[in-house]
């Protein structure tokens, strides 16, 4: 991976990290989109979206609701795609996704830490809020979030490329089996999704109708 690509990935990590909560929430931060963008930066958007799609399957049920703690899929996907691109080999996809899942948890912890830092700033005694102080407080919060996401992405890429090169080359499973291994875990999220929509009793018939349509579509295409 070239220096320009590394720089691009780190900046992308900062931007999608912002989109997750602080700025806009256009959902450019979802793994599917972050994966395609990261793949585009490293010159392989198809692999990027393949990793993003697997991570999106896992994170289907993870949303930035209120004050809850959630895995951060945005920076995790950039780290996963960047690492997979750098290490190459047959294990790039499964090891990249596994690193992304672990890094998502770490990312969630850093979001909580940032919110605590914002809390200390908001609760600090001082002059009453004037127009300038409101703007500065917001700029400070957004700036810290960007710095957090940039550092998290850079650290993830450093750890990933340092640790996973050798295992990625020695990975023994075929591409098909590697993808199947990951999708098995992702199916838990599909079950959780149906649980959240009312469960099998309320939505089972709708789900089975969709499943039959999906199988038929794959047979036809």
């Amino acid at each position: 991976m070239g220096g320009l690509q590394l720089f691009g990935l780190v900046v992308l990590g900062g931007l999608v990290g912002l989109d997750g909560t602080s700025v806009g929430q256009f959902m450019v931060s979802r793994p599917l989109i972050a994966g395609a963008l990261a793949g585009w930066i490293v010159g392989d958007p198809a692999t990027g979206i393949a990793m993003g799609a697997v991570l999106e399957l896992f994170l289907l049920v993870s949303f930035p609701t209120g004050g809850s703690r959630f895995p951060e899929g945005s920076t995790a996907t950039v780290v996963a795609v960047g690492t997979a691109s750098a290490v190459g080999g047959p294990g790039a996809l499964p090891l990249g996704v596994a690193l992304g899942l672990a890094w998502g948890h770490l990312g969630g912890s850093t979001v909580t830490a940032l919110r605590k830092a914002n809390t200390r700033a908001a609760a600090a005694p001082g002059r009453p809020m004037g127009p300038g102080r409101v703007g500065r407080a917001l700029t400070r919060g957004i700036g810290m979030d960007f710095a957090r996401a940039v550092l998290l992405t850079a650290a993830g890429l450093t750890v990933g490329t340092g640790l996973l090169s050798s295992p990625a080359r020695a990975w023994p499973l075929s591409d098909d089996r590697s993808l199947a291994l990951l999708i098995v875990g992702g199916f838990v999220s599909a079950g959780i999704s149906l649980h959240g929509l009312g469960g099998a009793r309320a939505r089972g018939l709708w789900f089975l109708t969709g499943a039959a349509m999906g199988v038929a579509a794959m047979r036809i295409l």
């Binding site: 395609a36 914002n118 098995v184 875990g185 969709g210 499943a211 199988v215 794959m218």
Partner: protein, 245 residues
């Protein structure tokens, strides 16, 4: 209102456990407050102080409260009325937004995008579909919310009920279930079947699905950790002398 609309995209910029959206809420209101209190700096400072206080709502529906709060300020409502209004709307705007956007709209569009991707559409079509469709709903909700709040003021609760957003979330439930089934069908008949091994992967995925269906969100961490452990186990086994590698 244009400046408030643009600033509403930053409403969570200083999210914290003390005032939650308070700082972002006041920042979004600033252009309107400046116009209202341009002759009275003390009144402006007092208005900013009351709007930096604790407030929380779904970010896409915060515009409802922003528009209505600005209307109340314009009508000269007293401080207590503004506070009571914001306290009354923050819960409904949070839970309604969570149900409509996080629990219904986002999963539905994400599921549809994944189906499109695994049916063979390229990366550009899959990601463009997600971004365009999702943000059409997202931006429509933000524009509608700010307009509804501004035009209805303290009567905005009635406007929210009349819009039927809760019913819309309900109607998206079956759509989400069909899309979830569609995705499972596509993956089961596609990548999982292609991996072979006599249906082993389909059986494992079905077991994972049932686990998620039965346990709900409690199963998520187990799935993520289990996947990481399985990948690590393959690495370890393949590195042993005489391993799979």
């Amino acid at each position: 209102m244009g400046a408030t609309f643009l600033r509403s995209f930053l409403v969570q910029g200083a999210w914290n456990y003390h005032t939650m959206l308070g700082t972002g809420f006041a920042f979004a209101l600033l252009p309107g407050l400046r116009r209202l209190y341009r002759q009275d700096p003390d009144a402006l400072e007092a208005a900013i102080r009351r709007h930096t206080e604790h407030f929380n709502a779904h970010p896409y529906l915060t515009g409802v409260a922003l528009g209505a709060a600005l209307r109340l300020e314009q009508e000269g409502a007293d401080e207590g009325t503004v506070r009571r209004f914001k306290t009354a709307v923050r819960g409904p705007l949070g839970s309604l937004g969570d149900r409509l956007v996080w629990a219904s709209w986002l999963p539905a569009v994400a599921l549809a995008s994944l189906v499109i991707y695994w049916l063979g559409a390229g990366w550009a079509w899959s990601s463009a579909f997600f971004l365009v469709v999702y943000n059409a709903g997202h931006l429509a909700l933000r524009v509608w919310g700010l307009r509804a709040g501004w035009s209805a003021g303290r009567e905005v609760a009635g406007r929210l009920r009349a819009a039927g957003l809760g019913e819309l979330a309900e109607r998206l439930g079956p759509v989400g279930a069909v899309l979830s089934g569609l995705l499972c069908g596509v993956l089961g008949a596609g990548p999982l079947a292609d991996a072979g091994d006599g249906g082993l992967w389909v059986a494992l995925a079905s077991a994972g699905f049932v686990l998620g269906l039965a346990a709900g969100h409690r199963a998520w961490r187990a799935a993520a950790v289990g996947t990481v452990v399985a990948v690590a186990a393959v690495v370890v086994v393949s590195s042993l002398p005489g391993g799979a590698g």
